[in-house]
């Protein structure tokens, strides 16, 4: 049986969640039972897909396509109850304000629990997760590296015992290119491109992972310079300025695309979609994600 885990990350505001949703939709359409996972206390997809609620247990959006919201806290809770097979003991230990707060901030523990759950399928360890494909809409760059490094860090800190063993196992799975795929989403602007370059190189250097770069909201059409010259003579000031800015933007987009293609020749460019409708937007983007 195949098992796929896709991690989608990138700088804040580049459209990670939209790209993750488009990718999940594509996988679902191909027949894989797909779970789109977001991390944190508040759901983005709840309003995005107009769902009544999104929580820890998967909510179906359409056929083969469900969404869930994970926190380190509830991943850890589920895992520990699964291990010790006794909810009362769990409650005794974790269900007090102090421990809750502690788990929330304890170094790497929430991150480890999240990554442990994400990789539980191929590792055949932990509570059952009945999906073939998991798409993780991950935190912005900095937090993503904390997620990635949690297992390795814990394995180093705790060499013996089950925790160390599972941590090594998670770390190994994350580095397995057959199972885990990584996407760094980026906008054709200086700052996100620089951050993506750094993240791409860091992932390769530190984890031996080759990520796919996804350049979102690209202006793709080729406009001849004669069009810009003609626009300068337009009677409308708005159109004139539009044309001037369009030329600047397309120039920047070409430059940024070139820069990223040097790192990843298989860069996936996604077009700017001038449409507010989420379903149509996702359909267009998922077509392009091959």
């Amino acid at each position: 049986m195949t098992f796929e885990i896709h991690f989608v990350t990138g700088k804040g505001g580049v459209g990670k969640s939209t790209v993750a949703a488009a990718l999940a939709l594509k996988k679902a359409k191909s027949g894989l039972r797909t779970l789109l996972v977001e991390i944190g206390d508040q759901s983005f997809y709840k309003d995005y897909f107009h769902l009544p609620e999104v929580g820890f247990n998967p909510v179906q959006v359409q056929e083969n396509f469900s969404v869930a919201l994970w926190t380190g806290q509830n991943c850890l809770r589920e895992y520990i109850i699964h291990l010790i097979k006794a909810e009362t003991l769990y409650k005794l230990f974790f269900e007090n304000a102090v421990m809750k707060a502690f788990v929330n901030v304890a170094p790497a523990l929430p991150e480890l629990a999240i990554m442990g759950k994400a990789t539980s399928g191929p590792r055949h360890h932990g509570p059952a997760l009945p999906f073939d494909c998991i798409v993780m809409d991950c935190y912005a760059t900095g937090h993503f590296m904390a997620l990635m490094g949690a297992a390795e860090g814990m394995a180093k800190a705790v060499k013996v015992g089950p925790m160390g063993e599972q941590s090594r196992n998670i770390d190994k799975t994350l580095r397995d290119p057959e199972i885990c795929k990584y996407y760094v989403v980026c906008l054709p602007e200086e700052l996100p491109v620089r951050e993506s370059e750094e993240l791409y190189e860091e992932l390769e250097r530190h984890f031996g992972v080759k990520a796919r770069l996804v350049l979102n909201k690209v202006l793709e059409e080729e406009i001849g310079s004669n069009e810009y010259t003609a626009a300068e003579k337009s009677s409308s000031k708005e159109f004139q300025t539009f044309a001037k800015d369009d030329k600047i933007n397309r120039g920047i987009h070409r430059e940024m695309r070139g820069r990223l293609q040097k790192l990843d020749p298989q860069l996936v460019p996604l077009p700017t979609v001038w449409d507010h409708n989420v379903q149509r937007l996702l359909d267009i983007l998922s077509e392009r994600l091959s």
Partner: protein
């Protein structure tokens, strides 16, 4: 002294806006400090803080007041805080070597928020500036920033510490031991079987090292909180436009009021391109020789028209209690002080000043 805290999701242009607000205040004659978290290279160069850790006067300025800037160095701020808080320097040294501390002070979610506030407070204490503008760390949710100190405070809380410090010696006791009593042994053995004894040792070392500085930490957090709810401290929520983000902004506004904080404005950044003039500017007839460009123009026009309507409805809904500013996206990236001055002018034009 006044404080302006810029909060918002990552990638919405917080840092640039914070710097532009700094420029605007300096133009009005104030001595301003802009505390940034992770400025883009060009912005850092513009502010003269690239690769520097100290508060720096922004070069090439000619304002009525004065503009200073600094990057918050997390590791250093955290360590400084520990040095001050630890009663003995050996305790601090031991803590610096603890693996959990090393992770905690660098990669823990929330620690950046903590150090940003810590840096803000020490700059505030110095009394050297008329206005301090804080650019907050990127977060998935703007609200996380406000909860960070309390989260951390609980971690260093003596009750938690005592609980971990005391696996064997009953004399230390502690609220939780008493509470759990017979359950404790069982619980610790479960934890040991799940995590391994090494982790427990690291944890107990960690809490031994931070013994006796809870009081200082609590005092600090109380002071920081007092500073944050002072009417002279105002918040500016910066967000981008889309349905989900706007709902989140509404949630944040409610939280900020509930917490007793003061909101100055809600900025919808990059909400339309600079060329967009709304209905008034619309070109209807096809210009000769620019057909392709015109088709694109029409598509974008429809898109931004719709967005404009949604914006207006949103601003209308909030207008009673909140000042909503819509800031256009400028085509050319801001790369020098002139760019910031231009952004400051846009802010002024949109009515953002005290």
């Amino acid at each position: 002294m006044k404080i302006l805290v810029c909060v918002g999701n990552g990638g919405v242009g917080k840092t640039t806006l914070a710097a532009a607000m700094g420029v605007q205040a300096a133009q009005r004659g104030l001595k301003v400090l802009v505390l940034t978290i992770d400025p883009a290279k060009r912005l850092a160069t513009t502010l003269g803080i690239e690769g520097k850790k100290d508060i720096t006067r922004v070069p090439n300025q000619n304002f009525k007041g004065e503009l200073f800037a600094s990057v918050v160095d997390h590791k250093k701020t955290f360590d400084d805080f520990v040095m001050r808080a630890a009663a003995k320097s050996e305790a601090a040294k031991k803590l610096f070597e603890n693996k959990l501390y090393q992770q905690l002070s660098t990669s823990l979610s929330g620690s950046q928020d903590f150090t940003a506030l810590e840096k803000l407070y020490s700059s505030y204490e110095s009394g050297e500036f008329d206005l301090i503008i804080l650019d907050t760390p990127p977060a998935k949710h703007a609200i996380d920033f406000l909860n960070a100190p309390q989260k951390l405070s609980v971690l260093f809380n003596d009750k938690v510490a005592r609980w971990f410090r005391e696996p064997k010696n009953n004399s230390v006791g502690g609220v939780f031991l008493n509470l759990l009593n017979t359950g404790t042994k069982q619980v610790l053995s479960i934890m040991e079987s799940v995590t391994g004894s090494e982790l427990l040792r690291e944890l107990s070392d960690f809490f031994l090292s931070i013994e006796q500085w809870q009081e200082r930490l609590e005092a600090r957090i109380t002071n920081v909180h007092r500073m944050m709810v002072d009417p002279e401290t105002q918040f500016c929520l910066i967000t981008s436009f889309d349905e989900a983000k706007l709902l989140e902004a509404e949630y944040f506004l409610r939280e900020i009021r509930k917490g007793g904080y003061h909101l100055r404005s809600l900025v919808l950044n990059r909400s339309y391109p600079e060329w967009f003039e709304g209905k008034a500017g619309t070109l209807k007839e096809k210009p000769t020789g620019a057909e392709k460009l015109f088709a694109l123009y029409q598509k974008e026009k429809i898109f931004y028209d719709q967005r404009d309507r949604e914006h207006s409805a949103f601003a209308e809904k909030l207008s009673k209690e909140t000042h909503v500013l819509r800031i256009p996206e400028v085509a050319e990236p801001i790369s020098d002080l002139q760019g910031l001055i231009r952004m400051a002018e846009i802010l002024k034009e949109k009515g953002d000043s005290e």
